[in-house]
Amino acid sequence: MFDTVPRILLGLLTGFLFGFLLQKGRVSDRRVIVGQFLLRDFTVMKVMLTAIVVGGAGVYAMHAAGLTKLFVKPAQMAAVPVGGLIFGVGMVLLGYCPGTAAAAAGEGKRDAWLGLAGMVVAAAVFAEMAAGFSKSIMTWANLGPVTLPDVTGVPAWVWLSGLAVAALFLFRWLERKEAKQ
């Protein structure tokens, strides 16, 4: 029923820092998230792209040094896009994603608690339907756990450097645009 005590403490600590950073980064604010999808507020993009660039550089470096494995989810090219499209609708209606809803609930936002209730119902419903999905849509166009370097032949460091440069140009452009407003 329970993981080992050190692993639970480690999870609590990692989660505490994650929630702290999400709240300080303003992404547990519904207006910020909806504002991103209306292209009025680019906070979500700034937080996520910075996390991806910084996280990717370190994780790939650690992987090269033999300090960690990679945990790549399968590229199910039917289930992932369909799930993602449904997710996007839910994210705008609720105004949070699962992680930021948990953060907002921790802050005491009542709409986030209702969102979590909707999520629990969805988890129960999905569990009943999962056997059917795993034999159908999840097997369609399943490329397996592939990465962009795998499918393009372009090495990871080129992808990561390119991503970092693209992010820096995007951020500079956004900051200049926001300074004028």
Binding site: M1, F2, R7, I8, L10, L12, T14, G15, F16, L17, F18, G19, L22, V27, L38, K46, V47, T50, A51, I52, V54, G55, G58, V59, F71, V72, K73, A75, Q76, A79, V80, P81, G83, G84, I86, F87, G88, G90, M91, L93, L94, P98, G99, A101, A102, G106, E107, G108, D111, G115, G118, M119, V121, A122, A123, A127, T147, L148, V151, L160
Partner: protein
């Protein structure tokens, strides 16, 4: 301590912090940051208490296991961390929830988690942890939530604020 008491941090600082936290999670727990599967684990734990036979007969619940693990603790810690950050920064709590907003939040939450489980992850598991590993699945997910999220926002949220 004044930094911790700041109401907000620059988005780049928060994002870089989450990136470094990913290194820590990969290294210390052999696990990427992720949230949405914990909702299934919660359902599995509750159903296990009232109908254990049903859980053992449902492969998906067996696979994700009624188990209080690292990831479950992560979500509990996440709520505490956000609470602590809001308290230190003196951020206000929630606004009252009207009837329409309550339904919107419930339905939104339902779609969100259903979509996440179909896709195999959420903004954390696919969007951040997947994309930073350059996973094809992570980037496809990231692009798709922006397509449908923008369409939904421009259709139903444009008039807000």
């Amino acid at each position: 301590m004044s930094v911790l008491a700041n109401k907000h941090w620059p988005p780049y600082a928060a994002g870089a912090g989450i990136g470094v936290l990913s290194w820590f999670a990969f290294w210390s727990a052999d696990h990427p940051l992720g949230v949405s599967s914990v909702m299934v684990r919660l359902v599995a734990m509750v159903e296990n208490a009232v109908a254990a036979d049903h859980v053992s007969a449902t492969p998906y619940l067996v696979k994700l296991r009624p188990f209080f693990d690292w990831e479950f603790a992560l979500v509990v810690g996440l709520m505490l961390g956000a609470w602590a950050s809001a308290r230190l920064g003196r951020s206000g709590g929630g606004e009252p929830v009207t009837g329409g907003r309550a339904w919107e939040a419930l339905i939104g939450g339902f779609l969100l988690l259903f979509g996440a489980r179909l896709a195999g992850g959420c903004t954390s598991g696919h969007g951040i942890s997947g994309s930073l590993q350059l996973a094809v699945s992570g980037w496809v997910f990231f692009i798709c939530i922006f397509i449908s999220g923008m369409a939904t926002a421009f259709l139903v949220k444009r008039g807000e604020r």
